[in-house]
């Protein structure tokens, strides 16, 4: 059974690992992704994440269940924050638990890619000079693509 939360408060990665694995001896691998607020060149003062209450929880619960089924997971945790977050703050946590490493890593990848493209969240950047702008999806897509180029 997946743990899914949408919240303003921070999360503790260690505590979430402990909660997911407590009393379990069948888990052989845990995949984890943490997304954080990135500042490039001291220009960002904060990021505000807006969400669609209700739809967000439903969508996250559905995709977490899909990941559990598709990758035969032994459990997974998806936590996404909203509200105003400063550089360095945690935004999102994905943990996938499996008997073996490959499904744990694949499920983590699947979940974070899905969150990027299908979870109803919108980011607004506040800059040090007092201006603000919504992050557009094209920029976000480009960032995702760039990450893969660096990884490759």
């Amino acid at each position: 059974m997946a743990t899914v939360r949408v919240q303003t408060e921070d999360f503790d990665v260690g505590a979430e690992f402990a909660a997911l694995t407590a009393g379990r001896h069948d888990i052989g691998g845990l995949g984890c992704f943490v997304g954080t607020v990135r500042d490039e060149g001291n220009r960002l003062s904060a990021l505000t994440l807006e969400q669609y209450p209700g739809m967000t929880e439903r969508a996250l619960a559905r995709v977490a269940a899909e990941a559990e089924r598709r990758f035969s997971l032994l459990g997974c945790t998806v936590i996404h924050r909203h509200g105003r977050l400063e550089p360095g703050a945690n935004i999102v946590l994905v943990i996938a638990a499996s008997g073996h490493r490959q499904p744990a890593l694949d499920a983590t990848h699947f979940l974070i890619d899905w969150l990027k493209t299908s979870a109803p969240f919108w980011k607004k950047e506040e800059y040090a000079d007092g201006t603000a702008a919504w992050v557009d999806a094209r920029k976000a897509d480009d960032e995702a693509a760039a990450r893969w180029q660096r990884a490759g």
Binding site: E50, Y52, V92, A119, P120, F121, W122, K123, W134, A140
Partner: protein
Amino acid sequence: MDPHGDLTVLYFAWLRERTGAAEETVTPPASVVTVADLIAWLRERGPRHAAAFADAKVIRCAVNQEFAAPETELHAGDEVAFFPPVTGG
């Protein structure tokens, strides 16, 4: 759609800022059948709505909290949300 049916319309991100409303209840005419019809009708509500819906290609929609398409049909009582492409994660 029912000629006298209400819809709850929600706006997120810059659509909320441009329309000046997070939520409104509207009663479109019977000629409004689909999401695309609703956008065309909302656009006529005033300059702020016209500005918000100026470029329909960059607007996404959910009906009753499920992603919807321009041709998705609407029914009285539906919750219809308009927003830009999502940027979470």
